[in-house]
Symmetry: C2
Amino acid sequence: MDKSGIVIIGIDPGTRVTGFGIVREVSGQVILIEAGTIRTDTKKPMCARLGQIYSRIAELIATHKPDEAAIENVFVASNPSSAIKLGQARGAAMAACAVSGLIVSGYEPTKVKQNLVGTGRAAKSQVAFMVERILGVKDTKWANDTTDALAIAVCHLNERRFARMAGK
Amino acid sequence: MDKSGIVIIGIDPGTRVTGFGIVREVSGQVILIEAGTIRTDTKKPMCARLGQIYSRIAELIATHKPDEAAIENVFVASNPSSAIKLGQARGAAMAACAVSGLIVSGYEPTKVKQNLVGTGRAAKSQVAFMVERILGVKDTKWANDTTDALAIAVCHLNERRFARMAGK
């Protein structure tokens, strides 16, 4: 397996479903490594579900050894209770990254859409189309959360490149 | 060191300051084991701060081997952004408990006050007085977050006792 280039893990956190996508960039080309979802058991207590998110992310990091992480900034939730739940899932995922020594960059959903499609108001299908095109895959039947996590990872790679080009 | 009885870790989560209190109950008497705060470096990125909360809680659990954990239910925050931050700190702390195999019970701040002082509107000084009295300590000069974490641990011990007495 090619070990050159930079590896990014993208995470779209949620207490029910957390999407993840791991990609490698080598010479400007982005290759899919692994992507999927962490589905927590809604019958279990919240602490067990957060533990599941933490453990799976830590396991993915140990397996694929990403260099950096990117996470969706939680969208302002409909009510404080949802905001706290989303925050909890995000906290478990970010702690897993930090304990594994990764720096985590956060991106607003509109920023990710702008970056990949060119407009912050892009439809989910447009984002999915661009993710598949960039990764050179087709008909993946990914869950939305998986696509979103991959989009975040690709967005982070682009932002890094822009920053390098701008000499930042 | 006495290893009998039940050991509880109480946690009052926050991104800046997380209070913790570990107590042991033996034959109805509650003994202080360790209490203090986890103060995160506000200059560091949020992920590093959440990693710090996770690691310190995991370390405390490994050292004192509590049987159960109790955490403050995050009070409805003033705005969604605060709610997400509080949720993140709570998520990191709960993940640390879950990964260590602990079950976490959550208590509203008013429930803790009701339990210790007899009224959900008790002042912080009244809660502190009761915590010191129950633990048989004086003039501790604990931070508010430390006292709150110990209050949560004591509240959980009381609730367990009530549940046993009620034959639940």
